[in-house]
Subunit: 626 residues, 2 copies
């Protein structure tokens, strides 16, 4: 089958921005800070009820909003930043040809020029902390300050206790439904003060660079809803800028809580401008990728000055978190020599190459304090990278992996001394029986800093389906305490994800994250499932589609078998057909039980006779039988 010709960018973007069916954007206003209005998606059901769900899609799905990717999103946070008065605009680092990979004469200089021209409307004057100031959310939190970002997050997490109260009369049931938080401490009512305390303790990160004012704040932490990250990014082999912006918007539509721009090809700086200015979610990067571009791809030519320059470049653009592989120490490298698949982290392998060539300690480790100084001036969060994560089941949980993890724990404490927000990256490829140990070791050595894992993949033989093989591990480790799950797409190990892969990967990871929230008993998470189950029981088909993670697909699957509109009101579905519908029968059972209870004293034999006499039909035929 030939792939259909690709639709133009505008049409793809329109698809990504289309409102969800029966949904409208609502804003929950804050009470502490002006301008705090948290967007959520409200789904209207056919029975008049409404279900409100977490919404990562930003202004794109708001009514009347027209996306213009050349001017970017409104700067929601700008007034908050101004009000704090601890930052200053400044000229910023001068742009250099090398930022976009122009190390040598390039055959596409013209194209690059055009792209930059188009991105002209996206330029912002960078800000940084005033001399002597620290502008991180952690810094404020430790001083007892509740920022607008914290209030925003508190409302966004929707710690609604009404739902639990609905089961209040049935203690046994409530206990079953409450979940098993496995050591997480999730309050039923999520307050701005509680968010502040979590950030102050380092148990939660609010990635929010002061140069990314377009951001709708969110939090990553064990006691918060489990989040999902989507990776996008062009590479040397394929992909362009338009495509990456569209993938970004598309990702947030399908629930990406953060997006990592892993671009590695040319135009890396300009691509990032486009992505950041158009992103309502935090953007993460791996700065070593760009640093390596700057030295022409020769790892041993990397140096601290080049890396430092890249950090500042990206911090000024507004990147919200950096993956920094500072835990990959020289003495750990030989521990990987007998592995089946060696070092599979790109960043990790670049640094390993540098270390063994120079036989020197990793410069990210030796310069870690200086990195902290840079990050605190912009409130960039650390995502301490696991450069030695296992690349196969065979290498899971080995000494190389855990030695690095313990080092990340040490670095976390150093970052916190600088008030820099920090999370810890985790694997990778881990069979189910070794997953818990990953969480245990992280909790033991990393002082409560949020864990952010890639999957993990539970088997290695499913290329083309690694989103599923890894969603299993992701759901489990999410329940165990991981705060954010980095998605894996069906193309993992095979090629670059296209937009369909991005969607498939995200939906698999929203499933994993939601399964974890439900199992942990995050208040409010289960209300969504209960609304769906109720719609199923009552044959409200449209509500079932609209409540689903992907309404379009649910509707189209239903219509393949029973396309008629009448079937959407039918009291049966295509699985069983009209005669066998079990949902219908159990409604009869319920009616019977209720009658039975009411008429207990009339005697069961009499009741049975009455029911028989009434001859209650098994189903309501909506059309003559074929």
């Amino acid at each position: 089958m030939n792939a259909p010709e690709k639709p133009p960018f505008a049409s793809l973007l329109a698809q990504a921005c289309a409102p969800f069916p029966a949904s409208r954007k609502v804003h929950v206003p804050g009470t502490l800070h002006p301008g705090v209005a948290v967007p959520m998606r409200e789904i209207a059901l056919s029975n008049g009820e409404r279900v409100t769900v977490y919404d990562t899609s930003g202004p794109y799905t708001a009514p009347g909003f027209t996306a213009d990717v050349r001017t970017g999103l409104p700067a929601l946070r700008a007034p908050w930043l101004d009000a704090r008065g601890d930052t200053e605009p400044y000229a910023g680092r001068a742009p250099q040809a090398v930022d976009d990979g122009d190390r040598r004469d390039t055959p596409d200089a013209e194209r690059l020029q055009a792209l930059r021209q188009q991105a002209a409307g996206l330029q912002r004057t960078p800000r940084r902390a005033r001399a002597g100031q620290c502008v991180t959310q952690m810094h404020y939190a430790r001083r007892g300050i509740v920022t607008p970002e914290m209030e925003f997050v508190a409302l966004r997490e929707m710690g609604r206790h009404e739902w639990m109260q609905a089961y209040g009369g049935d203690a046994e049931r409530e206990a079953r439904l409450r979940g098993d938080a496995r050591g997480a401490r999730i309050p039923e009512l999520i307050t701005p003060e509680w968010v502040r305390d979590e950030v102050a303790a380092g148990r939660a990160v609010i990635p929010a660079n002061i140069n990314h004012p377009e951001l709708e704040p969110m939090a990553i932490g064990r006691n918060f809803r489990v989040k999902a990250n989507a990776n996008i990014g062009n590479s040397a082999v394929s992909s362009g800028i338009d495509e990456e912006v569209e993938k970004l918007v598309w990702s947030t539509r399908w629930g990406a809580d953060t997006v990592m721009d892993l671009s590695t090809g040319r135009h890396i700086h300009t691509t990032r401008d486009w992505i950041l200015r158009n992103s309502p979610v935090p953007i993460g990067t791996v700065p070593i990728y760009q640093a390596l571009e700057k030295v022409g791809g020769v790892a041993e030519d990397l140096s601290w000055p080049i890396f430092r320059d890249t950090l500042i470049e990206q911090a000024e653009q507004g990147v919200d978190y950096f993956t920094i592989h500072a835990g990959l120490r020289l003495p750990f490298i030989p521990l990987t020599a007998r592995r089946r698949t060696g070092i599979v982290s790109r960043g990790g392998s670049i640094l390993a190459k540098w270390c063994i060539t120079h036989h020197r300690e990793n410069f990210l480790y030796t310069h870690f304090a200086e990195i902290c100084e840079i990050l605190r001036a912009y409130d960039v969060s650390f995502s301490l990278g696991d450069g030695l994560r296992p690349g196969s089941l065979s290498d899971a949980n080995d000494e190389a992996q855990f030695a690095e993890l313990r080092t990340l724990g040490e670095l976390t404490q150093m970052a916190w001394q600088h008030d820099v927000q920090t999370m810890i990256e985790g694997p990778g490829h881990v069979p189910m029986h070794l997953i818990q140990a990953n969480m245990d070791e992280q909790l033991k050595h990393c002082h409560g800093a949020p864990f952010y894992t890639l999957g993990p993949l539970t088997i290695d033989i499913a290329p083309g389906y690694d989103h599923i093989a890894s969603a299993v591990g992701a759901a489990m480790i999410g329940w165990m305490g991981t705060a954010m799950l980095c998605y894996v797409t069906p193309k993992e190990h095979l090629g670059l994800p296209d937009r369909e892969d991005v969607k498939q990967g995200l939906i698999a990871y929203k499933i994993a994250a939601h399964a974890a929230d439900v199992a942990k008993g995050h208040p409010g998470a289960r209300a969504h499932d209960d609304a769906m189950s109720q719609a199923r029981f009552e044959f409200r088909w449209e509500d079932q589609f609209n409540l689903g993670l992907d309404p379009d697909t649910a509707r189209s699957f239903h219509d393949e078998t029973l396309p008629k509109d009448a079937a959407k009101q039918a009291h049966f579905c295509s699985m069983c057909g009209p005669k066998f519908c079990s949902m219908k029968i159990s409604q009869d059972v319920r009616q019977f039980s209720a009658e039975q209870e009411a008429a207990a004293e009339e005697g069961m034999a009499a009741k049975s006779a009455e029911f028989k006499a009434a001859g209650g039909a098994l189903y309501i035929p909506i059309r003559p039988e074929a």
Copy 2:
């Protein structure tokens, strides 16, 4: 997008029968019994190695085999049955019009006649146990007899201990890789005698009706590889016989260990003839579906004589296991009245309707001993149905569900008194934190009989993706001790699965089952993953595709980004591009570490200088950079 026109049956069947790439069918001969030759798939790797994998696809993928669905498969087991001499052919039950749903004049009498004509070549004379004989595998096992079926199963499970020995020199690594069997007792060497003992103890079932001689025997048990079942079957609304046979062959191609025929429409008897005669895997049914057809869909008109007649009809055709909802007792029905989604099992709701109408105990429960007598005469296995399984997270693990489960445990003991093989069905919809309790209760009350669960689904909000939402639960409960996982397709809750859905459902469930085998440490399971990982590390792309669960999809995903043949030998892939390839770098690390070790006394400084001088390239360019 319009659905493309459906290709003709012959072409679809040819697709289902095509050999897998780089694979050949091999047969491992038995030593105890003539005619035992266990088919496996051997995958030839480009480095000369071979990997042998479990093969459910039957003769269809054998070289030179031409499928003729009108004559059926060869009767592999016939000589074994003859040799036992404890069965006899007999006239069998006379066919009745009602068997195919011809209760009234049907508009498609002509079509039915044509189908029967075509199925004429599929008629076999039924066998049953001679008077006073019991012909179940459990009966033989308890008498110490190792049947050909048991020998077949032992070879098929591939308890190879060579693989573990490969790690023998590294105790720490071996311990990590060995898995955590969570109470299962899996020997490293699987012998026919061990299989016999498992069957004798009731811990394993070999579903093998004496009237299904085409069957390639397999076992279901906690100490065996975790199996996957695929449901097929037409319904009143859609689907035809051809389609069902093709779905059967297609299912076995993608790894279905057993297939349940859940047909509910017309032609139900004739469909079953086609399926059984063409099936190399055990076939299960839910006889109450056909019994209900015979009484025109009116549940209260069901009776023991009609049900009994249906059991004999299906046992004579060769059905290998029956789902029997005998544990759904009258007193449990009111326990479901306050559920969110009541009774969702089709069989369960039919019987509940019968019970409440007549206000009498379930006739399957009161006639259970007579059912046992029938099943033992044909070696049909019980799959004791969970008619009260939860239909939503909200109803998971409630008293209705567990009351029925305890009853299934009592019935298991009664079945075993008749030497009837028995397994227990389980849920359904269960959040992660309540899954372990399902396994615990089953182990506690069901005396070691194999558990056979549907999923479970871990969330309710993923219509269109329930294969993923349930693969999470399936992998977990498989690791905990469930013996067989009933698949869920993407169409669950929405419509009838087509062939693509069947494939997607099966692959999700092969992932879950394999993840469970790996976590439990089933000997040999991990060898497959290790071969894949090694191929990844060595950039053997063709081997990666061929070792995957779905080679076609893996290859096509790779080719989307890098279609050139040269890229299949490339020492990089499209994810990172040539400059960043981490696999390549870690090969350098390995080489470096090896050199370092060898030359330890020469001093590290000297070595570092030497490596720098050599200037080892980071990658091998295969074409000029773009």
